[in-house]
Symmetry: C2
């Protein structure tokens, strides 16, 4: 049996293109249900306060108001959630821990009434001392965010024992060998303290949820990336079996991690429960910004090398500000730790990573978390080693990079990528060996991201009697093209045109279990489940045809929606007719992915190492400090590209988001209050900020664990950009240890005599 192979490797147009460009695609916010109310949330104005009383009587009396929810309405349930640590009530109960925390929610006939009612709610607060920075939170007499001994693990903590302590939410250490000894031996030691800002994911669509109860069952339409994890947390919160909770995910207008895990859904469900009517809550952008964000970080790193540039050891301490609630903080901490050593053959390394509770809005997932935080730091130290050793910056990497099959982290998956080849591709695209035009700097950065998340995905393929197919898979289409590439995998297996394959939206009652949409996992893991489901269907088609012609299935060929034997063919409708005796029936296949041992194992974690690599050529305006990106280069080490144009679009999108992280973006807080929650004040990259040239190279070594050797992309390019830009600046002699690389900062660096040094370290000693 051979398939035609027409499904993958081709840049077919997105299957959702027409729906989207004609405005027909529906998002959660477009949903209208009969009797649906509009919910608005009253938010804390203090970073830390005790709630002494909430008087909702005036709000309830406002005509058009149907229900007002407060913590007092949650007495019949266990209202705490958090997939990692159950530290968060779905609405504040006795205390608020950040500016923006929901204190009450109003459901009214229209949005204006709900908004008006918020002003009628009277909250009596007792203001408490706040720890609005990590420094404050880690001080000896710091106010404590949580009674840590009462914290319970969430449903999906998945990180071994959680032992929060004081304001340390989570800590993670990875180590190999004896670091101290290596540093003693080293000829070159580079060290520094670095800061990474809080940034916002800025998906076009802010968080939106609609909840409708029917009896003891609840349906939630949500702009969420992980419907199954949301379902589980809602079931847990409201004491329901999971089959009584239905989570439906229409198209999602961008996620980037901001819609990972559970966000607005619990409060919406609780408000609908009280109102006894469907309720819709749609965040404004400023509300979305206090719902989730990327962790700001402080990091101390030192790197040891011998005089010839051989990397010896690295020691890292890093503190990530997870805000008032853990959200995905523990995983970000662990992934940051994994990213800290970088992709090199170390004798020894030691990384201590901490997540810190502060009285700031909670931080969670953000595309390429951990890697983005760390890679620019580690790679700038590698560049500095090269400079001090007097060797080329590409050369030092080629010498020290891990080779495929080598251990990356103790006990983890060995390297499954050709990093040397990838770096050579970046260098080539940057014309590394050609002379630089005057005033330009070149830099590159390479790293690894522990990707794939938990390898649990399922899919169902239903081939219909007219030869069209339904693909049921819970991957969230959030702009990345998931429905297209997953259709292509079915197309490949069944030799069926993509347009004959429909992919309904995610719906836990319809589309089977998928752990999550994130961590670059969908094409690799959901895709493998899809492939297996499609192969069940294919095998059944071949069996029917084989029976018909009295030949073994391997003698048959699948091509153009038909099975062929010599010059004879039976179309899929023919075969279904043959099987069922009439023009009905369907052929069902299902596929499952789970932690699997053996070849291509992804039991040990990560599922695969996503290559984070980028290169940049920059120029700096010495008068303003403004950075001009002449060339941005990415390499998509993707294993096998299902849809090359979509891969390139992912690379470009991630690179631009990386530019935002590197150059512009920073949430500015004053005593825990965001000061820049509009696009006027918060600069995301625009068309004006595009690099003069963007080059994306594809590497298809078929070394991934997915179907056809696929591995994920879409995050790595992001992490590569800050590293590349920082190193390109250093190539110009501009050394920075804080992001973003604002013109002011660059100007100051340009006009400083050396690396700008703080007066004293941010932390006096490791907490």
């Amino acid at each position: 049996m051979t398939a035609s192979g027409s499904g993958i490797g081709r840049s077919v147009p997105r299957v959702d293109a027409r729906e989207k460009v004609t405005g027909q695609a529906r998002f959660a916010g477009d949903l209208k249900l009969p009797g649906m109310l509009h919910g608005k949330v009253l938010r804390s104005i203090y970073p830390h306060a005790r709630i002494l009383g909430v008087d909702v009587s005036k709000a309830e009396a406002l005509p058009g108001v149907v229900a007002v929810l407060t913590g007092a309405d949650l007495l019949d349930i266990d209202p705490y959630y958090g997939h990692s640590i159950k530290d968060r009530p779905l609405i504040a109960i006795d205390r608020v821990r950040f500016v923006g925390e929901p204190v009450a929610a109003v459901a009214a006939e229209d949005e204006a009434t709900a908004e008006a009612a918020l002003n009628l709610i009277e909250v009596e607060y007792e203001v408490l001392p706040a720890a609005t920075t990590m420094q404050a939170a880690l001080a000896e007499d710091a106010p404590l965010l949580h009674e840590v001994e009462k914290l319970r693990p969430g449903l999906f903590h998945g990180l071994g024992e959680l032992r929060p302590q004081g304001n340390i939410c989570y800590q993670h250490t990875i180590a190999r060998g004896e670091v101290a000894e290596a540093f003693e031996r080293a000829d070159i030691v580079v060290e520094g303290e670095y800061t990474f800002p809080a940034v916002y994911q800025y998906a076009m669509e802010p968080h939106t949820a609609v909840a409708q109860w029917e009896g003891d069952q609840v349906t939630v339409w949500a702009s969420c990336q992980h419907p199954y994890l949301v379902r589980a947390e809602l079931a847990d919160l409201f004491g329901l079996p999971v089959t009584d909770v239905r989570v439906i995910v229409p198209y999602v207008g961008g996620g980037f991690g901001s819609k990972s895990y559970t966000k607005m859904e619990p409060i919406t469900v609780a408000l609908a429960r009280k109102a006894r009517r469907p309720v819709r809550i749609a965040n404004r952008v400023d509300e979305a910004m206090v719902t989730t964000r990327r962790h700001n970080m402080v990091c101390r790193m030192r790197t040891a090398a011998s005089a010839d540039g051989t990397l010896l050891a690295r020691q890292v301490s890093l503190w990530l500000d997870t805000g008032a609630y853990a959200d995905n903080g523990p995983r970000v901490v662990a992934t940051a730790a994994d990213a800290a050593p970088g992709p090199y053959r170390w004798e020894s390394f030691h990384v201590d990573a901490y997540g810190v509770y502060t009285n700031r809005p909670p931080s969670g997932s953000y595309r390429a978390f951990g890697a983005t935080h760390l890679q620019w730091i580690g790679e700038s130290q590698v560049d500095e080693v090269a400079r001090r050793a007097g060797i080329d910056r590409v050369e030092i990497r080629l010498c020290n990079l891990l080779r495929p099959g080598e251990e990356v982290r103790p006990g983890g998956k060995p390297l499954d990528a050709d990093l040397v080849g990838d770096v050579r591709k970046i260098a080539e695209a940057l014309d590394w060996d050609s002379p630089k035009p005057p005033g330009t700097g070149r830099g590159l950065g390479v790293g690894l991201l522990a990707a794939g998340a938990r390898p649990v995905s399922t899919a169902i393929v239903r081939l219909q009697a007219d030869g069209t197919a339904l693909l049921l898979v819970s991957t969230t289409e959030m702009g990345q093209g998931a429905r297209t590439v997953l259709s292509q995998l079915v197309s490949e297996e069944l030799a069926l045109p993509v347009e004959r394959i429909k992919v309904p939206g995610g719906d836990t009652n319809v589309t089977p279990y998928d752990r999550s949409t994130g961590a670059s996992r969908s094409t690799t893991l959901a895709g493998k489940a899809v492939q297996r489901a499609a192969r069940q269907v294919r095998d059944e088609l071949l069996a029917i045809a084989g029976e018909h012609w009295g030949v073994a299935p391997h003698a048959l060929e699948l091509r153009q929606g038909a099975v062929w034997y010599g010059g004879k063919s039976l179309t899929f409708p023919d075969l279904i007719h043959e099987r069922f005796g009439f023009s009905g029936g369907e052929i069902i296949g299902h596929g499952t992915v789970r932690p699997e041992a053996g070849k291509g194992s992804y039991a040990a974690g990560p599922v695969f190492w996503e290559v984070c690599i980028g290169g940049a050529e920059v120029r700096v305006d010495p008068g303003t400090g403004r950075i001009h990106i002449l060339k941005l280069v990415s390499v998509a080490d993707v294993g096998h590209a299902v849809n090359p144009e979509l891969v390139e679009a992912q690379e470009m999108g991630a690179s631009m988001q990386g530019l935002g992280n590197a150059l512009f973006e920073e949430m500015v807080f004053d005593e825990g209050q965001i000061l820049n929650s509009t696009l006027l004040d918060y600069h995301v990259p625009t068309i004006e900020d595009l690099p003069d040239a963007f080059i994306s190279r594809l590497v298809e070594n078929e070394d991934g664990p997915g179907a056809y050797g696929i591995k994920g992309v879409g995050e790595g390019a992001l992490a590569g950009v800050p590293a590349a830009v920082v190193n390109a600046l250093a190539d110009l002699g501009i050394k920075v240890n804080e992001l973003p690389l604002t013109p002011e900062r660059i100007w100051r660096a340009l006009h400083a005599s050396d690396v700008p040094q703080r007066q004293e370290p941010i932390f006096k000693e490791n907490p």
Copy 2:
């Protein structure tokens, strides 16, 4: 491996009971969509006319009217449908063929406006000669309903070549041996001409459909029994792949065949297409009565026997009035032919059955079609043979009934029921051998219904991480308890309490293919697919547990939502955790039923022979002719009762509907116009009409083709009742050959000296 067996054989409460008694169950008519319009249908006032023109301008000008649909709007599609014969336009194009045929449809903001707009539509008709009775339709110079040479087979005609001729829509002959020779030899010949009235299924919920287009895709919520056949016909009509048509079936408020196949859906979809907004059309009862009904019939039958009561031969001609369009007429004709000989060991028989087009509303499926039409006739002749031979009426049956394994019809499935045992149970329940109280008559009737329809069903079972399960199956829950018994089958296979199993409603995008809900097939066929799906899940659970303990699956036991090995157990959540490494993932199983050969084969048809059996003890008021039912007896020869109380409820419901058919119900037409389209004029059985005693006996010989030897029930009791009552009357000397047995008819029979004879036969000769 053994399962606990707690799932089946128990009368667990209906899983939908709470939803229904609390009014939370949603039916198609309850649906409200944003922007939904209300549709009303303008219907023909003539039984046969040419449409010269339709002026909708005034209607379109009425404020609130959004669209008016006429035949002129269908130029871009092939507007003819009919699953058996494509003879019907979805709205009249150039001609109307019955009083009530849709001529135009209005979509407006509310029902009142739509209704008002109907009055503003001006239709110019040229009245044509009409054939409003079968006699008229079969007359030599009858007006022809259709140009039969242009008729095309429908998507699911499934009855070999259709050769409509004149006004004969379909004809079917079954025969064995030489009838004429047997009649020459016979000592006893009983013969007569019989009529059966048009009756209405009278589901509580009239037909309702809501259609919503999104781009080129359409979603239809419909009160339909067969969502997949509706989907196929809609896709065919509107030129779409089936995956672009989604048919969702909420709870259905009774079907009884009235919602078999495609009814209101095409006109609703076409109106929504024109209005470019969602449209809801809900029939009133009088509109539902012209949408479908049971065929009225004329039958000539003669039965030959030897002097000792041995049945020799039977000859039957029957004409079924299918109205203006075939609908399911051909299948009714074939099934009536199958039922005509009755369940006896004939030397020879010959049945000619005809479906006749007339200018009356179309006839379709109605619970126990064919069998109900014929059984009372054949069984009354058997009783008459017994009387003339001087032998007991039970005895004559015991002697002549087929035994298991004997051929029923040439080439068909051999008998799979113990009819002798069934008849004995009826006799025993009627105290047959005890003296009758004075003035009472006893009768019984036995027959066979070719049941199961086409054996094509699929199901998916999805076991979730918390040990609850979703059962995806497209059987329509229309009050019969399908979701309950199908849950019980999963419960049985997985040893999981019924309340842990959820069965979402039918939805072609969610629940996989099922041919139809009817022909007593669901528990048997959908149930077998469900069993197979559940067994896949069970096998996977056992495999995981076996791996865990290092033992073979057959050493394990499944009980109480867990797998047991000796005293140790692993719950389903444990096992799923074991498989996926965390509290997520799911185990999927799917099952398929298709025509299968070998043991328990149902390739030859029917899938099984449903036993139609009933007994009655009656008294008659000689002054009024009113029949009093003292006792009604049914035997449910069900193979294996999944839920005995639901079986009994089916038996009682079917028996009461049989009483309605026997005693009261008749649609009265005058020139094709129904005269009694309200409950005031059309008498369905009420609480007042209950028999004094109802006895239902269960037979569980495990001789059916379903899981655990299940075979279907729910129709047979209906067909048994008219036969039993007619024979009980004959036992009192009251011989009738027309249904219903109205007091007037009985009074006339009581006061006639002999069997009432018509002046001349209805048909002079066989057409």
